[in-house]
Structures are given as C-alpha cells and as structure tokens.
C-alpha cells in the first residue's frame, strides 16, 4: 500500500517469459470476465425489460402504464430501506464503539464474531423469524403507537392486528444490515490515529469527549459509506420482505397499518410465478429499476469511502 509502484516494474525488463504471459492473460481475463458478467446482467435486464418499456400504457397491468406500476413499488422499497437505515445506523455506531472502545479486549473479539454471525444467517430464516416471533410480539407496540403517537402521520393507524407491517419489515431489515454497517465502522473506528486519542486523553478528556473529538469525526465518512452499502443490501432484500410484509400496494407513509406498499424485489418474487407474457417483462423492468437504484446508492457509497481513504492517508 505504501509503495505500490514497485510491482509495476519489478520483473526484469525485456524478458517476457511464456509463464508470465499466460499468467498475466489469466489474471486480466478474469477481470474482463467479471466485467462481461456485469455487462451481461445489465444487457439481459434491458433486453427483457424492453417490451415493457415500449408497450402502450394500456397493455401494462394495473392502469397508468409502466411508471405508474413501478413508482409505488419503488416508494415501498425506499421507505422500508430508510426505516432500516434510521434504526441500523445509530445501532451500528453503538455496537462498533462498544467493540472498539468500550468492551474489554478479551470480549471484543468474540463479540465481533457474534455480530458477524448475524450477516451469515439466511434471509429466509429472518423471514420465518419475523413472521413467527417479531410480528406477533410487535402487535401491542403497534396499538400503543397508534394510541399515543397517532398524530404523527407515520403512526396514524389503524394498527395492524397481525404485526405484518412496514415497521416490522424495517426492523428486520435493520437487523440484517447491522452487521454490514458494523463491519466497516468497526474497522474505521479502530483505525483512529493513536496520537489523536492519546492527545485528547492527555488533555483530560473523558472517554466520551475523546470519542466525540477524535473517533467520530475520523469515522464519519466510513460510517456514511457503510450505511450506503447497508442501504444497497436492504433495497434488494427479497425473501424476508416477501414472507413478512402485508403488501397491498397502497402508497402511504403509515407504517403500522396492514395496508403497505410492496417493494420491487418482493413484488417480483410474489408475482413472477403466476406471470406470463408481457407481465414478465414488466416485472423485469421493475428489476431494472431496482438495479439502477442500487447502482446509484453503491456509487455514492464508494465515492464517499474512497474519499475517506484518501483523507485518512
């Protein structure tokens, strides 16, 4: 990392051994193969979505054409992911700080393993857990929110009696993306320069003051980048949402009623089996929209992370 240029001219000049040539070819070929696959994914989506894009608005199911079909789904996708982010980011900060600066060292390593384990649990299991445990457990919370905070549009109700709401989906998504965000913030927080930390402590700062003055500013862009990666994952999550959400397709900010907008990925999973003809193209067009949304989110995330890396160098 410190001396990247040496690799470029390390082998003796002028001698191109066949072995080198083959190996270089393989390495470059692999890189190109990856780009080809990605181009293939994009091409496939566009080709399959094209009939839906060009079709007249009266041929698309529902009324109002393709945009009107995808827009509520995109809304639901973004809404669920936003809830997840709002819940997961503060938690990821706390978990990362706990592991990097609060927990005794002997505990920190096993703890980070436990959090990583969350990332490995299959999403279908999250779905089953959400509908069997979390949803029913959240029913009374829904009623309480509607009674006491009903004046906020988010909780206007009527509260769901089954707990299969956007709020619960958001919480499950938050649990799912927490380890992704934590993995990055933990790394960044623990890389805060020693000089700054010791300087702050030497000046008599309490632990929190030290964290506020050195660790948090240092890790801010890392946190943003991690959050964006988590957002990307939440946007594309399929099975958990499919199993849990009571999706009726209504566009609403009400998080606690049984009337919820669906998400793009869940809608594909729900309708793909019974679809044929143009309906399949419409679903793939919505997949293209999802791909575009995640692409943009990832681009933003990477730009932020790269900037962090440069700044910290």
């Amino acid at each position: 990392m410190s001396t990247p240029d040496i690799t470029a001219d390390a082998p003796p000049k002028g001698v191109k051994r066949p072995g080198d040539r083959i190996f270089t070819g393989l390495a470059t070929g692999s890189g190109i193969a990856i780009l080809t696959v990605l181009a293939g994914v994009a091409t496939f989506l566009i080709v399959k979505a094209w009939p839906a894009i060009t079709a007249g608005s009266d041929e698309i199911k529902g009324d109002g054409g393709l945009i009107a079909y995808i827009a509520p789904l995109a809304f639901g996708t973004v809404l669920g992911s936003l809830i997840a982010i709002v819940i997961a980011v503060p938690m990821a900060m706390a978990v990362s700080l706990f592991i990097s600066h609060y927990a005794p060292r002997r505990l920190a390593q096993p703890l980070s393993y436990v959090v990583d384990l969350l990332a490995a649990i299959p999403s279908v299991v999250y779905g089953l857990w959400g509908i069997a445990v979390l949803g029913p457990a959240a029913v009374s919370l829904h009623a309480w929110l509607a009674d006491n905070l009903g004046f906020i549009p988010l909780f206007s109700g009527p509260p769901s009696v089954t707990g299969r709401t956007m709020l619960v989906v958001g919480v499950v998504l938050a649990v799912m993306i927490l380890p992704i965000i934590t993995a990055i913030t933990r790394e960044v927080y623990s890389q805060t320069p020693r000089k700054q930390i010791e300087g702050a402590l030497a000046l008599g700062a309490t632990r929190w003051e030290m964290i506020r003055m050195t660790v948090l500013p240092f890790g801010r862009s890392g946190l943003i980048g991690g959050a964006m990666l988590g957002l990307g994952r939440a946007l594309g999550e399929t099975m958990a949402v499919t199993i849990i959400l009571s999706a009726t397709g209504t566009v609403t900010f009400d998080l606690i009623s049984s009337d919820n907008p669906s998400t793009i990925a869940a809608n594909i999973a729900l309708d793909f089996p019974e679809s044929s003809g143009l309906d399949v193209n419409v679903l793939i067009a919505s997949g293209l929209a999802l791909f575009a949304i995640t692409l943009v989110v990832n681009m933003i995330a990477r730009t932020v992370i790269v900037r962090t890396e440069k700044a910290s160098r």
Binding site: S2, T24, T28, P122, V124, L141, G232, G236, M239, T294
Partner: protein
C-alpha cells in the same frame, strides 16, 4: 496483528512500518491499554474523596469540607477545581441491579409488559447513574457515564434479535432434527416423516459448483487488481466489482435463468444454473477479500523473490499466494457462507425435486433454503410436519454456515500469523 512480529517461515525479518495504516492494523493492544489506564484512573479515584458515602472522610484534610457540613452536599466549592468527587466503583452495577429488581417486580405484578419493562429499566438505570454522577462528579463525567450506559445498552439491544432468532430456530428446529432428517430424502414422503438429505446434498453441490466457478475467477481478478492492474481497466474493475456487490440476489437469479434459457428454452432447470446465479453474488466478495489480503503481503517478500531472479508469475504463485493463503481461505469461507443461504435465485433456477440428484448438469435439484421455504409455503393437510421440517432445515442451514465460519476463523488463527 503487530507488524513487528518475527516471521517464522521466511528468511527475511519484517521491520516495523512506521505508518498510520500499520498502526491502525493493530489497534487492540494500544486501545485497550489506554482504556485500561483510564479505568485504573477512575478506579483509583474513589478512595481519594468520598462524595457518595457520607461516612467516609477523604484523606485530604480540608478544613472547609468539615466546616461546610457534610460531603452529601458535595459543596466544597473553593477547593474543587483540581479534583471532583467520584462514584463508588460498582455504582453503575448496583444502580442497574436495583432498578432491574424494581422493574422485575413490576413485571411480575403485571404492571409492565416484559419488553417495556426491560427497556424502561435500562433507561431508568442510565438516568439514575447520570443524575447521581452529575451531582457528585459534575456534568462531564456524568455525560461520559451516560454515554457508556447508552452504548452498552444499545449493544445489548442489537444482540437481542440474534439471541431471539437463534432460540426460535433451535427450539422449533429440534423436533425434527433427527437422524432421519439427514439420512432420508423427501422421496415418496407424504405428510410426516422423511428428511432433507436431498436438499443438503443439493446445497452442498450447488454451493460447491458456485465455489469452483467463483474462486478461480475471483482470486485471479484480485491478483490482476493488486499485482498487474493499471490504468482505466483497473479503475473500472475496482468500481464495478463494488457495484456487483450490490446486485439484488433475485436479479442474479433472473440473469442466470435468462442466460440458460437462451440455450435450453424456458423450461430448463439445473443445479448448475443456481451455481451460476450464486457465482454472480459470490465473485465480488471473493475479489474484495482476496484483494485486501494481497495488499498486506509485505512488499519486501516480492522484492526478495525478484532479486533471486524468480519470474513474476512464480513469485505470485510461490510467495505471494502462500503468504496470503490463510486470509484468502477465510474470505472464501465467508463468501460461501453468505451465498449458501440465498433462496430467491435458486427458487427460479434449480427447481425442486423430492429425490436426491447428484448431477448438477442434468435435471432439477433441491437445496436447503428452497426446501425450508417450500415446506413452509406449501404444507399438506398435516401442517405441523411440514413446518417442523422447515425449521429443522433452517437450523441445519445455520449450523452449516456457523461451522464454515468457525473453520474459517480456526484456519485464520492457525495459519494466519504469517502476515499479521
């Protein structure tokens, strides 16, 4: 993770690199040491003054303290600027215990719901400690204690779902977690009984095939990025590998489905299709982790190899890769664990089959995530048998994934020292 550790297997000695990044790579010891120092400071404080306990008299013979009439007030204004009072060392724990006891009593008396009670107890304890500390130690220390409480509390909240999830899966999965589940397939099973041997075999084959596709491509691409890449192709590849990590899994499934239906028509379902879909998801993870591992192979190892006249490709094969091997294996294991639980792409590519099929190039193939999903979604009249099998499959899946994670960590711990 200290870079100054002596290298056992290579002849060269790794000198410490005085660099922020390298410092950062070994954060645990210094950070923990600093924390311990801070803790010692805090722990050493109580005997000095005795703000909390009225009976205690500090060793400091201040005339004012006695004159003004009691440490309970904590008003020793003229002499305070240098040191302040301090809470007893166990204060936060005692407060938490006391508040929890009250909360538990209220829960048992049915005044509070358990969940509400637990949250309320945590918040109340935090507030009590904050208030007490503020009265005795001043606002800065109080805030510090409050934040410590909040951070630890949030951590516990974050762990709760995992605990609940594991408990649910284990308790519901155990009824069918028996020998038959691993030795019998779903062939000729109606209602209760049978097993998921076919799904376990399918998952292993599909994931194995995905690994065979992804690992060579992923590692070679990482080698390209780290050892050869330059210019626009490298920049593009770095960027698009990141983009690829964000491909929704269902889109990967649709892609594999479309790719194969070009050649075989829309009816085709094969294990290898699922493997291709999983590869699309797996390759970027392998590239990312391998690249990170190659990055921390010390540069002087390569230079020593070149100096001996070893060609670059042999240097990479014989020096760089073996050095980074443990880390790469860990990354691959994590990637396998990550894709093994994918359901959506397999649902539309591999089809289902109640018998065991070991040929990924011909015919349908079952897999554990799809098995769990289908058992849950399409139960027969005897519903419980199907739901039990679904949870047992989920339990099996989690155990396999955990096992892989543990193996990866063991490998890292056993062989990973060389580049730490």
């Amino acid at each position: 993770m200290s870079s100054s550790r002596d290298d056992q297997t290579t002849p060269t000695h790794a000198p410490p690199v005085p660099d922020d990044q390298q410092q950062g790579a070994g954060p645990d010891q210094p950070g923990a040491a600093g924390d311990r120092a801070a803790d010692r400071g805090a722990a050493a404080a109580p005997p000095a003054t005795g703000g909390a306990r009225p009976a205690t008299t500090g060793p400091r013979p201040t005339a004012t303290a006695a004159a003004v009439g009691g440490p309970t007030d904590g008003v020793v204004a003229p002499m305070r600027p240098i040191t302040t009072g301090s809470l007893p060392r166990l204060a936060p724990w005692l407060v938490t215990a006391a508040v929890s006891a009250v909360a538990l009593a209220l829960i048992l008396a049915d005044v509070l719901a358990p969940g509400v009670g637990a949250v309320a107890a945590a918040i109340a304890s935090g507030l009590v400690v904050y208030g007490w500390s503020r009265a005795v130690e001043g606002p800065r220390r109080a805030l510090d204690r409050g934040v410590t409480f909040a951070v630890a509390g949030t951590f516990l909240v974050a762990i709760t779902p995992l605990a609940s999830l594991l408990y649910t899966v284990v308790s519901r999965g155990l009824p069918r977690f028996d020998t038959a589940f691993f030795t019998e397939s779903g062939r000729n099973v109606v209602g209760a009984g049978g097993g998921a041997e076919h799904a376990i075999v399918g998952t292993l084959i599909i994931t194995g095939a995905a690994t065979l596709i992804s690992v060579p491509i992923g590692i070679m691409a990482a080698i390209y990025l780290q050892e050869y890449g330059k210019g626009r192709l490298k920049a593009a590849l770095t960027f698009f590998v990141d983009v690829m990590t964000g491909i929704p899994s269902i889109v990967a499934g649709l892609f594999a489905f479309a790719l194969f239906s070009i050649f075989f028509g829309p009816g085709v379902r094969m294990g290898i299709m699922g493997a291709v879909a999983l590869s699309v998801l797996m390759i970027p993870i392998v590239v990312r982790s391998t690249e990170e591992m190659l990055k921390i192979v010390p540069q002087h190892l390569r230079e020593a190899s070149y100096a001996l006249g070893v060609p670059k490709w042999r240097t990479i094969l014989k020096v760089v890769l073996p050095t980074a091997l443990a880390g790469i294996v860990t990354g691959v294991m994590v990637a396998i664990a990550r894709v093994m639980g994918e359901t959506a792409p397999l649902l539309i590519t591999t089809g289902v089959l109640s018998s065991t099929n070991t040929d990924p190039f011909d015919g349908r193939m079952h897999s554990l995530p799809v098995y769990a999903y289908n058992q849950y979604k399409f139960p027969g009249v005897d519903k419980q048998a199907f739901i039990d099998r679904a949870w047992a499959a989920a339990l099996t899946l989690i155990l396999i994934v955990m096992l892989l994670n543990v193996i990866a960590r063991l490998i890292y711990r056993r062989y990973g020292t060389e580049i730490r």
